[in-house]
Symmetry: C2
Subunit: 311 residues, 2 copies
């Protein structure tokens, strides 16, 4: 996971002991998912005073492991910050996790957290808050999966995020799967080959059965590993790859328009693939693309700092 | 599984004992897959003298069960025919099974068969031979999965059959999955609703999360159960359904053309969905559509009868 420079939270390298009686405003941000979790602790002045990384934290597939890894990472961040446990116990925390789909998932994690106040949400909220630094604008988050969001006046609307089988249009898994479907059609002569399809087929020893075997077992992340082939080929003008990236860009534009996006609003393309769609957006959208102001972890910290605003 | 009238093999209702010394030309046809298996026994005059149905026979997922169920069905058909075991032991048999993907799968089944001569193949060959009664023509087999084939002068070419994840275009699983992807986009306002998408969404209590839950767990067969909604809506002129059926028909036509199909050749649309594409084919293809002359089981018997031709 890329760690973007914090937009509001400054990393402080001196780690002194902070006494618990000073700590009513200690903030904890947590970002997690199937590949790992990250914890950042900030003081009342929004200095980041401790961070830690931990193991996978997917509340859907491995809930107990998620609990264990999050707790371990919190403790590592506490030690990194030089805080006593009492400081953690009085902290406010915001937790964004991939795979939180309902209150039951959120509760399962929330009930073991050691904080005075904590909120557990799907990581879409922390991603958007981080990318826009809590301001107005739109986000198309395109990694292994995908979703599109727009924030306006403190309210955020979301579209997408329906997973590999029925959604996640424009995502890495979507590109990878679409590529392999196309390569099989080309191998059979039903569709014409391009450089991309020929080179992809060669990776499987020119044997569509090998693609079939891969495809039947592959996880979305494994399909997503093929997406860079599509991006690179599209940038070189490969017609098949270009059509796939345009299809993905069309989805992003349709979703943004559905959310009421206006052409003067900032647009963040996040995730490993997001920025690569800039080239394939119509100019009025492409010119609004800006770098994300922060990561999902930054977003979690910002949301934690706002918990006090409306207790 | 539909059982079409045999084109060459006549069912004989009298079941006398056939002595083993007369039985050098006893023929056995077997058709099987994940939902069950069927066995037919014919005498030298191509009268069907015994049949039986058995349990699931998928050599990929449940190989030992496939062996057991096929052997039990053979024995039931033997008893139905009033044959002694020695007659079976000297028979020639052709076995078409869904899920045979390589020689290892075929060998695993073949080595337990009690026949003098036996061949185990994927059921595509028996389906095509049955539908065309061993003659020239093309077959688009569209059920839960799909494939397209063309026979000319005793040679058959095949396209498709690459499974739910990367292929099976036009199939029931493909239609069902595409429908649900579309319904979620409509529910989000990204694409316009049609009657079909509105009614499908209502089946899930107007909750795309329910579709997400279904879609994440559904088997291809479960997706395929939605295909009749698409067919019915397309026949009523629903624009979304019509577009989906046209996409499927386009795939069928492209595959047929790739196989060298000529507009004067017979075209069989088999499987539960095949015939429903007739309406959505261009006229030059639609007018060539004919009823299949027989089932995969008939095809297996015909192929068994030909085994003697080239020993």
């Amino acid at each position: 996971m890329a760690y973007f420079p914090a937009f509001q939270f400054r990393k402080r390298y001196y780690k002194g002991i902070i006494m618990s009686d000073q700590n009513s405003t200690i903030l904890v941000g947590i970002d997690g998912g199937g590949t790992g979790c990250r914890v950042a602790i900030a003081d009342a002045d929004r200095n980041i005073i401790g961070t830690a990384k931990g193991g996978p934290a997917n509340p859907t597939y491995t809930p107990q492991q998620a609990r264990d890894n999050i707790l371990a990472a919190i403790d590592a961040a506490r030690l990194d910050a030089g805080l006593e446990q009492t400081a953690i116990n009085s902290a406010r925390a915001y937790v964004g996790l991939a795979g939180i789909r309902n209150d039951t998932d959120a509760e399962f994690i929330a009930e073991i957290l050691p904080f005075a106040q904590a909120r557990v949400v799907e990581d879409r909220a922390t991603t958007v808050t981080g990318a826009l630094a809590g301001g107005d604008g739109a986000v198309a988050a395109i990694g292994t999966g995908s979703f599109v969001a727009r924030s306006k006046g403190g309210k955020t609307g979301y579209l997408g995020g329906w997973g590999f089988r029925l959604g996640d249009q424009a995502s890495g898994a979507w590109l990878g799967r679409n590529l392999l479907e196309r390569v099989i059609l080309c191998a059979e002569g039903i569709e014409p080959h391009s450089d991309l399809t020929r080179e992809t087929l060669a990776r499987y020893d020119d044997d569509p059965h090998a693609i079939y075997e891969f495809g039947n077992a592959a996880t979305p992340a494994e399909f997503g590993k093929l997406a860079p082939l599509v991006v690179d080929a599209a940038n070189k003008g490969d017609p098949t790859a270009t059509a796939m990236m345009r299809d993905g860009a069309d989805y992003i534009v349709k979703a943004l328009n559905t959310l009421g996006y206006r052409p003067d609003e900032p647009l963040c393309l996040t995730g490993g693939l997001g920025p690569h769609y800039t080239n394939f957006l119509q100019a009025s959208f492409a010119r609004q693309v800006m770098m994300p102001k922060g990561s999902a972890l930054d977003g979690a910290l910002l949301l934690a700092s706002r918990m006090g605003d409306a207790p």
